[in-house]
């Protein structure tokens, strides 16, 4: 009897957690709208201040990204060859590269509108693809898809595809060839150098 009670109680708790969850499509919509709203008003970002865009991305977008998973996907089976310390270093550097790239793209934002495609989540699903389209004058809409995975109660983005090009797996061949040449540490070095030069040019700007 008691165990039935515990079971029901836990069901109730699960229920209340579910109620608080933000659905993945709502999450993407909210974050997109919030970020674009800020960019539309921010003359610095519009005129190419990557640094300011990075700050915005770090505050508003990063909490919803799973960089460990991204790094793992980009390294594919090489991930297992890396020590825990190396995995941490790789994730850290890759995160910086992706954030800067994403921020750079934000500075190029003009007045395009984002169209959110219909989405429905089947109960129990832990993987979701949220499809959006960037509409712009004079061209075919650009497909922009977010892949999210549910970890605990929260959905986190683990990949972004632009016109079918994954920002994560597109690095796979580059990473693999860097590793086959100079090992995991070689790749870490390549990423560090790239980030240093990227950082330097964003300061100049």
């Amino acid at each position: 009897m008691k165990s039935v009670f515990t079971f029901l109680a836990s069901l109730l708790m699960v229920g209340s957690v579910l109620a608080q969850e933000v659905a993945p499509d709502t999450l993407i919509k909210n974050v997109t709208n919030e970020v674009l709203e800020i960019v539309r008003k921010d003359k610095d970002i519009q005129s190419g201040n990557t640094r300011k865009a990075v700050e915005l991305v770090e505050a508003k977008v990063l909490p919803y990204f799973n960089f460990t998973r991204m790094t793992q996907l980009a390294l594919a089976r090489d991930w297992r060859k890396a020590s825990v310390t190396q995995q941490k270093a790789l994730t850290e550097e890759f995160r910086e590269l992706l954030v800067r790239t994403y921020s750079k793209a934000l500075t190029e934002y003009k007045s395009q509108t984002i169209d959110f495609k219909p989405f429905s989540l089947k109960p129990g699903e832990t993987d979701a693809r949220i499809r959006t389209e960037i509409r712009q004058a004079g061209g075919k809409p650009i497909q922009l898809d977010y892949y999210l995975e549910k970890a605990g109660a929260n959905w986190k983005v683990y990949d972004i595809e632009v016109s079918g090009v994954s920002l994560v797996t597109n690095y796979r061949e580059t990473f693999a060839s860097a590793i086959s040449k100079d090992g995991i540490d070689g790749l870490i070095k390549v990423l560090q150098d790239k980030n240093k030069s990227g950082e330097a040019s964003s300061v100049k700007k």
């Binding site: 793992q72 089976r77 590269l97 004058a137 632009v162 797996t169 693999a176 860097a178 990227g198």
Partner: protein, 281 residues
């Protein structure tokens, strides 16, 4: 319009010559099965980059600076309208009748109400613009990529898409204009307009790429794969994720998922060339 025989014939022999060179120089390989002539491709990529930064990009920047953006949109729309007919033909060849009807409808509306295509009324009326070419049609029919190859001026292609390109050009109304000065002006204008549209993508790619050559290559392949599936290519990340968690069963980078000419972040854009002649958008 008549088919411009000399043009496509010379292109074909050029292609054959390129493959020959590629095969001969095939020793410079990286062991990447998708890119067996990487040594040759890298050289050609460097050549195209040089051409772009010396001539095409500066002109595109000037064009972008001088022309008000509604005018640029009009130019883009004009060439886009011309290409809609062949997009429709390719949709027919792929058995996508509703899409083809959509494309022909776009052409009819935009050519008339849209003042020879300068205004894209059809999009506002709910007829979406598509992106098709002969390379995609072959892909749809089940033809594989073949080797990746970087063509001079035209940029990244696969062997299949190179054949597609030859047909695209043979069918291209612009390269078939009889009056040579007009034809050349139109080809150049289209190229510059296309390149100008890709200017924002440049900076993002510079920021993103560790090795621009391989970044562009993989983006091209991912984008083409996506286009062939009309944006619904099966995702292979999951399969690959399993490889991460399990001891290696297959090779890791087996995805040839695909970048787009006209996306802000995406990549292959920059290669002027993809843009240039095929330009079936």
């Amino acid at each position: 319009m008549r088919i411009n025989k000399p043009m496509s014939a010379s292109l074909r022999s050029l292609t054959v010559a390129l493959f020959a060179i590629g095969v001969l120089s095939g020793c410079a390989t990286s062991g990447n099965s998708k890119d067996p002539i990487e040594g040759f491709n890298r050289a050609m990529f460097a050549f195209n980059e040089g051409l772009d930064s010396a001539i095409i990009k500066p002109v595109a920047k000037g064009y972008d600076a001088v022309l008000p953006s509604p005018v640029q949109t009009g130019v883009t729309n004009f060439f886009g309208n011309i290409s809609d007919v062949f997009i429709g033909v390719n949709n027919l060849l792929q058995g996508k009748l509703p899409e083809a009807v959509n494309d022909f409808g776009r052409f009819a509306i935009n050519t008339t109400v849209g003042l020879l295509g300068v205004l894209d009324i059809a999009t506002e009326a709910g007829l979406q613009k598509h992106d098709e070419d002969f390379g995609q049609t072959f892909g749809r029919w089940g033809v594989g990529n073949g080797a990746y190859v970087v063509l001079p001026v035209f940029g990244p292609r696969t062997a299949r898409d190179t054949v597609g390109l030859v047909l695209d050009m043979a069918a291209d109304p612009v390269t078939n204009v009889d009056h040579v000065p007009t034809r050349n002006s139109l080809v150049v204008l289209r190229l510059i307009d296309k390149r100008a549209n890709l200017l924002p993508a440049d900076k993002v790619i510079e920021e993103a790429a560790l090795d621009k050559y391989s970044y562009m290559r993989d983006a091209y392949l991912q984008n083409r794969r996506s286009l062939i599936h009309d944006g619904n290519a099966p995702r292979d990340v999951e399969a690959e994720a399993e490889q991460v968690d399990r001891p290696a069963t297959a090779e890791a980078g087996s995805s040839s998922p695909s970048a787009a000419v006209d996306s802000p972040v995406a990549a292959d854009g920059v290669l002027l060339v993809h843009a240039v002649v095929t330009d079936t958008k």
